[in-house]
Amino acid sequence: MSSDAFNSTTALLRMNPELYTVWNYRRNIMTQTMFPASEPAEVNDALTEDLSLTFTLLKQHPKVYVIWNHRRWCLENVPDGPTEDDPQGWKMANWKKELFVVEKMLDADARNFHAWNYRRYILANMANAPPPSTELAYTTRKIEANFSNFSAWHQRSKVLNTLWEEGKLDEKTSKQSEFELVQNAMYTDPDDQSVWIYHAWLIGTGEDASLLHREIASIQELLDEQPDSKWCMESLVRYKRLLLRKHRPSLSVVEGEQLLQDCSALLAKLAETDRLRRQRYLDILQELQRPSS
């Protein structure tokens, strides 16, 4: 009987949830044998039960791709119902639980990229998804709990892009508050690269010269306090090079020379203090000293 076969897949998967062939077999039993002989309500129950099974398994095996994948499959196969008037009811009920599930998973491991990917998938595909502003608030909570959570900074960059593109947030004012958030984090732990990578995202391609000047001055202040801060030096080189690359015509000859000298001095110091990446600094130094075209 297929129900025996079905139950044995449950037992096998509880022992080893990575057996992708067993998941396939289980799905085949469901779609080919069980579902054609079932009422939609029974199909919905079976899928809801599989969602609970995978939640149990994920708590033990949070990084197993095929378990996450089976959840997606379950959600995508929830039938219309419970009534003709409410065809989305079952879907909504199941999808709504997913944000709770994924938040539990991210509470256990805030860097689990499977969970973050799943979260983005849920937000993009559920009906009545919470708006991006709610997601922005979620990343704020995650970042405030731990500035080192680059996964949350990454998510924040994606959400902000959406909010800006959709005109739901004014890019300029919102960027300004991001700079304040990130500066706060920099002063808390200047060695935390998550924060500096996010800062580099805020700066972007460096088209805004006054922004570059302002941020250079602010980082310089931090460097004066923390003269060995690698990330202060690294970022200063990055932004000063951006000034040279993008805004050369607006700089005086003296200013241009000064920027070059600053970069050279910073790179020389980086090559001495960040020995692991010594050759990178020397390569950039050499490139800067090459006569520009």
Binding site: N117, N149, R275, Q279
Partner: protein, 357 residues
Amino acid sequence: MSSSSSSSSSTELSIPLHVKYIQSLGENKDDLIYHMTSHLRLNAIYWGLTALCVMNRQDALDREEMIAFVMSCWDEEAGGFGAHSGHDAHIHATLSAIQILILQDASDKIDVPRVVNCEPSKHIFHSRRTLPEMLTEGLPLLVILSLQQPSGVFAGDAFGEIDTRFSYIAVQSLSLLGQLDKLNVDKTVSYVLKCRNFDGGFGAVVGAESHAAMVFVCVALLAILDKLDEIDQETLAWWLAERQLPNGGLNGRPQKLEDVCYSFWVLSAMSILGKLTWIDADKLIQFILSAQDPENGGIADRPGDQPDVFHTLFGVAGLSLLGYPGLETIDPAYCLPESVTKRLGLRKNWKALPKRT
């Protein structure tokens, strides 16, 4: 405090021990671990065999037995290889099968056994076709091409988990079979480029955080398809160089722990970009060597942990790219010995560090 000129400590790569470790893996088939890892069996054979090739000990595993096992994993119904006899075809197992057969130079000599018996009857494969016949009949090819989604990304199997890993696997498989001309290159590349982030790295799907393993698959895919000029190489190489931690090991993302397997994911991308000099090779070599099991052989994810064949391969592959003496050079785009990709005319323009003596 070590500088790049400091001499290495006394630790060396224990090649004989690692060879013994790899040989021992398939021996105890009653072992629970053996069954618990059956979903990765074909991949594990590829990992073990490639590690042996890098250590110049390809002869250490029985060739005929291995080829017979690979053929027993053929899933006739789906037209691809499963991870083990009786397992469903999957794109990852299919690549491993192709890689093993190519490593064994089996693509023009092998008589496929008349009947390779597998458990469910649908898997019985009976014919006397040779492998090249099978390949030119396009069997694995068919399943690979059918897995491409409208977005350009590939799924792993008919149930549709999508990921840039599967795109890479598809591209490498087609390349090894000499069938890249059947691929929609623009569509494939355009999905990969959508997975690129502002930090220069790549994620598994659109919107995902950069991760060194995905950087490897995306960069290697672009290298195989000659599309590296599409990306910001300087930013990516910077992000990759920042994976090295003070203990010499590499992590896969910012603020995460080091792990030996990233020695390959990160280094392969760096060697494709020609930037291997941007990290401290001495310290990384010491880190990888410190993760060896000095008693039973094998390399673990980090010192003191249980070794496994996956980290053993990516440890020696990392050492190979760093020019560690006595190792065959690994091709970072294919994770196959350079001699093999040269033989197939597939070697791209990447750079390993010069061989040390």
